[in-house]
């Protein structure tokens, strides 16, 4: 660990958040983004003119139009592919910008419509090579579900088990969503209901897949010092590590499964694969709850093994018997996650970490939560503490 990293621990914080999810057929992404920004300002008690850094999504409105709409001039603007696997790197970037003094208060603003106005969707699967989740349209290998399904198939081939091992994940998150006033899916779900849901891409059933929603969210990142003067308790950024990428890190898989050109091996993380813990000065045992990108249920198995919560092939048994539910050994996705709270291209997951650590989650609050981790199958992670 570098000297700079040692000094960086807990020196930046998330001070304001907002999140809403659902269906807003008559509103644009710009309108959703604007409202998310306003709500996050209200949440932390900052005036808009204190915001001198903005990071926004590369679809929807461009950064310049967004800033024009918000009447905001900043000294740090960035627009990128800040969704899905790149949400936590975006927060990391904001923290580094604050840490380096390039801006004092950075707002990460996100507004998205499920079906955007005037922009093509679904073109990424025709990119040179294969799509970002391994898609190959001419062979009918369509949609991100493909990446999760081929990864799950290899996982079950290597370690045994099958679709029934995914049921407790969907059921756990649905139980959590039922305690979350804004969740879009709240109908009760049993293990049997999961097993009766139709196949989408075998080995994935309908209840293994999330839905896509319209929504908005915003996180404001500032210095630890400034955060202590805000309306809500600061949530400190303690440790972090990036998206691991390359031929060994297929999207929607974990290393070692042999998806596409991956090497086949029983993956066990090495110390350098777990830098965030070193930076935060904690271990897996200190984590009170985990939040992970759950567009598809197998991703939970992969995150648990990627970060060493479980050994190779052990996550599929770990997720049974309420261990990942509120009150269990390691509660995961306490908001209901993308599977049941809704999919605001992932941002709602990070908002949940912040709210849990502020102890403002009501019925779904993890008791005495002190340290929460956002950690995903591709290795990206942020460890937060209150």
């Amino acid at each position: 660990m570098t000297e700079l990293a040692r000094a960086f621990r807990d020196k930046t914080a998330v001070c304001g958040v907002s999140n809403f999810v659902g269906s807003y057929p008559d509103r644009t992404a710009l309108s959703l983004a604007g409202e998310a920004f306003k709500l996050a300002l209200d949440d932390c008690g900052m005036h808009k003119d204190e915001i001198d850094g903005v990071i926004c999504l590369s679809f929807g409105s461009d950064y310049d139009r967004l800033l024009e709409a918000l009447g905001l001039n900043v000294r740090y603007a960035h627009q990128g592919w800040t969704h899905g696997r790149f949400i936590s790197p975006t927060v990391q970037q904001a923290a580094m910008v604050v840490g380096m003094g390039m801006a004092k208060n950075v707002a990460i603003i996100h507004g998205k419509r499920r079906k955007p106005y005037g922009q093509p969707t679904d073109l990424e699967m025709w990119r040179q090579g294969l799509g970002p989740h391994g898609e190959s349209p001419a062979y009918g290998a369509l949609r991100p579900a493909f990446g999760a399904a081929i990864a799950a198939k290899r996982y079950f081939h290597m370690y045994g088990g099958g679709n029934e091992d995914l049921a407790p994940i969907a059921v756990a998150f649905r139980k959590h969503a039922r305690l979350n006033p804004i969740a879009v899916r709240k109908e009760p779900m049993t293990l049997a209901d999961h097993q009766k849901s139709p196949w989408i891409v075998d080995p994935l059933r309908l209840f293994d897949c999330c839905q896509i929603n319209d929504g908005g969210s915003c996180l404001i990142v500032t210095s630890a010092e400034r955060a202590r003067d805000c309306k809500k308790p600061p949530v400190y950024i303690s440790g972090m590590q990036g998206v691991h990428a390359g031929p060994e890190y297929h999207n929607l898989a974990m290393p070692g499964l042999g998806v596409a050109q991956q090497t086949v091996l029983k993956y066990v993380p090495k110390p350098e694969d777990l830098y965030a813990y070193e930076m935060a000065g904690v271990t897996q045992k200190d984590i009170d709850f985990l939040v992970t990108y759950d567009a598809f249920t197998p991703l939970i198995l992969f995150a648990l093994e990627r970060f060493g919560f479980c050994g190779p092939g052990e996550a599929r048994e770990f997720v049974h018997n309420g261990r990942i539910e509120l009150g269990g050994e390691l509660p995961i996705n306490t908001s209901g996650g993308l599977l049941s709270e809704g999919h605001v291209t992932g941002w709602n997951l990070l908002v949940e970490v912040v709210r849990q650590l502020r102890h403002e989650c009501g019925e779904r609050q993890v008791k005495n939560a002190e340290i929460g981790q956002y950690a995903c199958f591709l290795g990206e992670s942020i460890i937060f503490r209150r």
Partner: protein, 145 residues
Amino acid sequence: MKPSQLRIDEKTGRYLPMIYPEEIPFWEGLKARKLLLQRCNACSKVWFPIGPMCPKCLSMEFTWVPMSGRGVVHNFVVYHKAWMPYLQQKVPYAVVQVELEEGPRMTTNMMDTPLEDIKIGMQVEALYEDVTDEITLLQFRAAKT
């Protein structure tokens, strides 16, 4: 053959592969019933997906060489949902990843093989499906031996 950006075949409604300029020898090979991949002139690595340089040594000198067309099913999934009208007549259908004898793994389908016969580890061989007058797709079937 020329690069192609046509995404859907108007006659059949089927999705087509986008044909990028540096992939043309691959597609011409398939039309001639040959599976050609790039082999590095410097270190002999064979790679896929098709790319501008050897991913091992970064040499941009390579030769298109024929593969044996033999391999094993390394992985597969079965689509039950038809995400476009053309696929309604195809579901349930399998998408497989075949590991070639030469090493690279390719995402394809299986022809002439009942769905229930597809297993990880089964021996397969290449065959070729003309999807338009211009474009031929690589396919696989259970090995005849």
